[in-house]
Symmetry: C2
Subunit: 457 residues, 2 copies
């Protein structure tokens, strides 16, 4: 009955059921069949609004699907849930090269946004591996991070305006196009990073930047963690605003990805403690390259760094990034338990020492690899070994509990979804959680939007 109503709204061909649902994968990582009651594919904001109003009236829970590239199982529909897919809302509506904005529907893949920007000499600066599949709406709903955060911020900082539909079908048309707009509450902030639990993002106004005309990349070896953090300050200051990435690899990670069967070869010897992939983007290839090399030279002279290789070609640059992105080598070693935490930089070395010590004592059969977006205080840790639910939980305790006293977060950029929900209380106070529930109650009193995701029961 509800499905018939929904079919009348979106067209019967856009209400998928049975085999049409089961033939779709759960996510990029889980190729098992999707189990949703139905997949509903609206073609416009008006259709989203009417679908939500109908589900709201029927107390029907929904899960909003983007590109299914999330890492916290936020978009895995249960058998009684309707999956709302924005895949048909994939139009780039307009580009404003002067005002440096792009207006898009939520279902556009991130990579298409990036490519369209480049056609106009612009940059959409949020970027990460899943760009080809991830949808822009999902990236905003989860406030995606990635590699350029130190310069351009999280996705939140590239959203000027958005349109969202509340659980009851109300459309919130907050399509601001300006950098400055203090006309009362900035409602878009509610929907950014709340993972679809407060509303469904349908359209966006994105902030573009001028496309850099040059890119400088280097791999730099540092002898101690203290030197890594001092090198970060040095290079950020020396580059005067053009630092775009500061990615750290610990020795074990670097050795793994530069040793067969991994495809990479070591651009620097494998006996350093830390390796930093540093990148800047500027306006003048010759001048920027000499400034970049001087800044790295000064770091070597000052002893902050002990070895470095500066890229002189795009091929070298891609080879360096391929090392940083090569997590498959880890997955070959067994079942991975992967983390995405953040904490204040001054606390990080001590935190890592404590975590590695605990893991060594409690889970000695699991190998540990560390890397991260150090410029943002964001650490990725992957433990790998025999698959075991008990080990997984035990390892999670080892990694998450030492965050508490240090003011860290159990999720830097991946969000909470379902997977991290049990740990959220480690880093958010009861008062904060109560306020979150109050917001949820105010915007979705029946709890039909992404129920059971993000907030603990």
């Amino acid at each position: 009955m509800l499905l018939e109503t929904l079919g009348a709204i979106v067209g019967a061909g856009n209400v998928l059921t049975g085999e049409q649902v089961g033939s779709r994968a759960v996510s990029w990582a889980d190729h098992g069949p999707c189990r949703a009651l139905a997949i509903v594919r609206p073609g416009s904001t008006d259709e989203v609004s009417r679908v939500l109003a109908a589900c709201h009236a029927a107390d029907q829970p929904l899960v909003v699907l983007g590109g299914l590239t999330g890492l916290v199982q936020g978009c895995v529909p249960a058998a009684h849930e309707i999956a709302l897919s924005l895949e048909r809302m994939n139009r780039i509506e307009s580009v404003d090269p002067l005002g440096r904005t792009m207006t898009v529907e939520a279902g556009v893949p991130v990579q298409r946004v990036q490519e369209e920007a480049e056609k106009h000499g612009l940059l959409y600066p949020v970027d990460w591996g899943a760009r080809g599949s991830a949808q822009i709406g999902g990236s905003v709903a989860t406030n995606a991070g990635g590699n350029g955060v130190i310069r351009y911020g999280m996705t939140r900082d590239s959203v000027l305006g958005l349109e969202a539909v509340l659980a009851d079908g109300t459309v919130i048309p907050a399509m601001n196009r300006m950098l400055k707009n203090n006309a009362a509450y900035d409602l878009k902030q509610l929907f950014i990073g709340s993972e679809g639990t407060l509303g469904v993002i349908t359209r966006l106004v994105l902030r573009m930047r001028e496309l850099p005309r040059s890119t400088q990349t280097a791999l730099v070896a540092c002898p101690s963690f203290g030197n890594v953090t001092r090198f970060l300050k040095h290079i950020d200051s020396a580059l005067g605003g053009s630092l775009t990435a500061f990615e750290l690899m610990w020795n074990e990670f670097y050795c793994l990805v530069t040793t067969p069967p991994s495809r990479g070869t070591p651009p620097l010897p494998q006996d350093h403690a830390y390796y930093v992939l540093v990148e800047s983007g500027g306006s003048d290839p010759a001048r920027d390259q000499s400034q970049f090399e001087e800044a790295i030279g000064a770091a070597l002279e000052a002893g902050l760094a002990v070895d470095a290789v500066v890229c002189t070609s795009q091929a070298q640059r891609e080879a360096l990034w391929a090392l940083r992105d090569d997590v498959e080598g880890i997955f070959r070693l067994g079942a991975p338990v992967a983390f995405d935490v953040s904490l204040p930089l001054p606390a990080m070395e001590d935190y890592v020492t404590e975590v590695l010590g605990r893991l060594e004592r409690e889970w000695p059969h699991y190998r540990r690899f560390l890397f991260g977006h150090l410029g943002d205080g964001n650490l990725h840790l992957i433990a790998v070994g025999p698959p075991s639910a008990e080990a997984r939980h035990g390892i999670e305790r080892c990694v998450y509990e030492p965050l508490v006293s240090r003011g860290g977060s159990v999720s830097a950029e991946h969000g909470i979804g379902v997977e991290k929900r049990p740990w959220l209380e480690l880093c958010r106070s009861p008062a904060e959680l109560a306020l979150m529930r109050k917001l949820k109650q105010a915007l979705d009193p029946k709890g039909i939007l992404n129920p059971g995701r993000v907030l603990p029961d």
Copy 2:
């Protein structure tokens, strides 16, 4: 009775009444006496919490006072309202040069934050004229803008964490210190820019940047508005991320501030249509200056600009900024009606033409001056002439109404307060206003916090 309770919480000497209240000015602009029932000055978050809980229980409305430098009468207490002043909570708690954060109480003046940052080789990049009096808490509550927004964003982008107290006294301790934290809803966003109507900000974690080592400044003349916007794109791209200000002055404004009795002298002839104050901050004085001069030279060659003067000393730089900041010359001409609007850049020239045309037809006896943070789509317009409430309202209609069809905002950076409340509905839809009221209802159901400010009744 309530005042006695409050005195027991904050100390009797910190509950000001009678002459102690009346001897204080209403604001920086209105030197008439403050009329609050009492001024209550808590010394800690705990005291703020207990004061709010007591007022909440007694249904007592409050107005939160910062440095009284606001421009929209948001902090003018009525005789039945208690004024809550954060002036005693003025401690800088800590600076983290490595993590590049500063933790402060809300009552610290913005200038003290800036000066403390500089001591550590850091920059707090939000800056505007009222820095000496404005309190950091108020600047966050109003999401202050200023001159560096094009590079560093609004105040919102420099806030990593905050602590706020809800109307009922609940403390929300969201003191995040990381650039990346996606652990559920980003609650701080609720309190930034909501002008104290959803909670009282008591403490803050601010994001710092590395202090630029060089500053380049120029005044550039452009022959047409189209050239101004193309020059913005050119210079932003050519400087590769170091552009920090792009301030536009229309001819009438420039002539006024460079002609006696104004103190300024004209660095460029007075016959150009537009003058841009452009500034960048980098890491290498010699290299940056030559890059800056080349970029401006290229603009002259391309015909985007027709004349330019590049500063070679700090004194020259200050003289240029003094022109841009010299609004007193306007105030000498009569009663000012001042505006702070924003709109998409491609719509701005046509908007200005329409507004000036309407003003010329409807209010010919008022002179009009235009300037603005063009890089942010932010336009300031001041009309000046005989004081008259009717004229004021009529001029407001002329300026605000043409924003509607262009997607503009009645407040770019000053907020809504009381003064702009009647115009808010021009730029926010009924659905948005209803959602704002829903948030207000959820967080402050009795409506005791800054009642009657921001939201239309």
